[in-house]
């Protein structure tokens, strides 16, 4: 589904990603693991067209995503929930969702489906986004991305700084998306969460791809976590 073919990218002269190749399949959760600065978030931004590629190609099915301008990547079917949520703070929950729905002319049935995944948001529709709790804001950020009916969802540390009950709720949503056939590329620092959620794990080291393995293999070989993530 989503395939990164030897991409290199960076900011100006600072090259962050080097010859990185990855693939996320439909209905799969692929987790990116790596130290701070390894290039996890940059990988997501490169997929979204926010960081220019120096070389390589990004494919979504048969479509070359890397040829599209940034604003057409979400329309092609890639949803992105960045670190820090980045909501429209001064707009209500309903208006935040509306912006997402309008982007692909999604109808009320999509809105209803999204709210079914996040029933808590239904009670907060008239509330401004900035007044929501951290967990609710994360839910809204994910809900808004889902309004675009993505085939692939990129989640950058979705459980960062959340309380356990919220983490569990978001975990359930991610699992539900996998069951619905959505491919999920997840950046997560918490190794326990990775082992709990991921089908496969890809390690990043200094912007280059490292080992790729199933979560079961990682459980059997925890020393790799120390090698790629340990400080």
């Amino acid at each position: 589904m989503l395939r990164l073919d030897r991409i290199s990218a960076g900011y100006g002269r600072a090259q962050v990603l080097r010859d990185l190749s990855l693939e996320v399949k439909p209905g799969e959760i692929l987790c990116l693991l790596g130290r701070n600065g390894a290039g996890k978030s940059t990988t997501m931004r490169a997929i979204m067209g926010l960081v220019p590629l120096v070389s390589g190609t990004i494919w979504l099915g048969d479509e070359r995503l890397s040829d599209l301008p940034a604003h057409e990547v979400p329309r092609a079917g890639v949803g992105y929930v960045p670190q820090g949520r980045r909501l429209f703070a001064d707009l209500t929950v309903a208006q935040n969702l509306e912006i997402g729905l309008m982007a692909r002319q999604s109808g009320p049935e999509v809105r209803a489906e999204v709210l079914t995944r996040f029933p808590r948001l239904r009670e907060r529709l008239g509330q401004k986004a900035q007044t929501l709790s951290g967990g609710e804001q994360q839910m809204l950020a994910m809900a808004r991305a889902l309004c675009l009916r993505p085939q692939v969802l990129l989640l950058d540390e979705p459980t960062e700084g959340l309380q356990p009950s919220m983490i569990a709720a978001i975990r359930d949503v991610i699992v539900g998306l996998r069951e619905a056939g959505v491919a999920v590329l997840l950046v997560e620092q918490r190794v326990d969460a990775v082992l709990d959620l991921a089908d496969r794990v890809a390690f990043l080291e200094n912007g280059s791809g490292g080992a790729v393995m199933t979560a079961d293999d990682l459980r059997a070989n925890r020393s790799l976590v120390d090698r790629y993530v340990g400080v």
Partner: protein
């Protein structure tokens, strides 16, 4: 429904005032309505989209000079001259948008300011055509629109009300439309809007052309209704005015520009009747207002009284 009632109610009140106001305030209010139309255009860009322009006088003057030069040198009657003013504003704002929107933040402010200054200096430089600093008068014979003499007070007021009403209802419809929602989202977080699949540049371009055309409509109308076209309307002062009016009235509110313009107009008018240091009084009043109503007058109404007012 309540929202439309409020805005239509204001237009009805302004129409009713036409019959009761003394001549002095009648003329003032006509002027305020035209300038408020200018401010409403500015508010679309600044209040709703978060684009702070310091060059809107260029659009106001493009409309005014497009109309005025059409009358003066091409012998156009009022209607085609007005259209020429609108087209001039649309073209100038389109060209400036294509260049200035490649920048953001402070750079955008500087680029718009520089272009406006270039426009102002061009008016002075081509004095043979524009009569430079002195400007020129639009003769009464040229201020006839479909047989209506716009130099007459009553007609002038109603024409100003028509312009104001059109701009007001256009803004109200626009900011409640999907397009308007995207503009607010751009103001809040431009990159996030792009990540939701919107062409941010196209939206900004469209709103800048719309804003510039509204400013040009106000400029062309001002020249036609008050019979004068002058370089002072292209000066930096006329780029700062709409910013002040919008901030005072409430950025990102539909009625804010009108209230801000009215407030500022009468603040200066009344304080100049009390002292020659009227700008000091006006300044103190503005400081007090900024301290106690930082979101502007309508912004405070929205915060404290009526949260749903656009």
């Amino acid at each position: 429904m309540k929202v439309y009632a409020l805005h239509v109610g204001l237009l009805a009140l302004l129409l009713a005032l036409h019959f009761v106001l003394p001549a002095y305030h009648h003329g003032n209010l006509a002027r305020v309505m035209v300038l408020a139309s200018y401010a409403m255009g500015y508010n679309l860009m600044f209040g709703y989209t978060g684009l702070l322009s310091l060059g809107h006088a260029l659009f106001f003057a493009a409309g005014m000079y497009g109309m005025g030069l059409g009358v003066q040198h091409l012998g156009l009657s009022a209607a085609p001259a007005l259209i020429l003013g609108l087209v001039a504003g649309a073209v100038v704002s389109g060209v400036l948008a294509a260049l200035a929107l490649r920048t953001a933040g402070v750079a955008f402010m500087i680029v718009t300011l520089m272009f406006a200054q270039a426009g102002y200096l061009s008016v002075l430089y081509f004095g043979a055509l524009t009569r430079g600093d002195e400007g020129f008068v639009i003769q009464q014979a040229d201020r006839m629109l479909w047989g209506i003499d716009l130099s007459l007070e009553g007609n002038r007021y109603l024409a100003a009300l028509l312009l104001f009403g059109t701009c007001l209802m256009l803004c109200l419809w626009l900011v409640r439309s999907p397009f308007g929602r995207v503009l607010v989202a751009i103001r809040e977080n431009e990159e996030r809007v792009r990540m939701l699949g919107y062409d941010v540049f196209a939206h900004k371009f469209a709103v800048m052309v719309l804003s510039g055309t509204m400013a040009a409509a106000a400029g062309a109308s001002y020249g036609l209704l008050f019979g004068y076209v002058g370089a002072s309307f292209a000066s930096v002062q006329y780029s700062i005015f709409p910013l002040l009016w919008v901030l005072l009235g409430g950025a990102g509110t539909v009625l804010g520009p009108f209230i801000g313009t009215l407030f500022m107009f009468y603040l200066i008018d009344l304080s100049s009747g009390v002292t020659t240091a009227y700008m000091l009084l006006a300044g103190v009043a503005l400081v007090v207002l900024t301290l106690f109503a930082p979101q502007g007058l309508m912004g405070e109404v929205r915060r404290r009284v009526w949260r749903g007012v656009p």
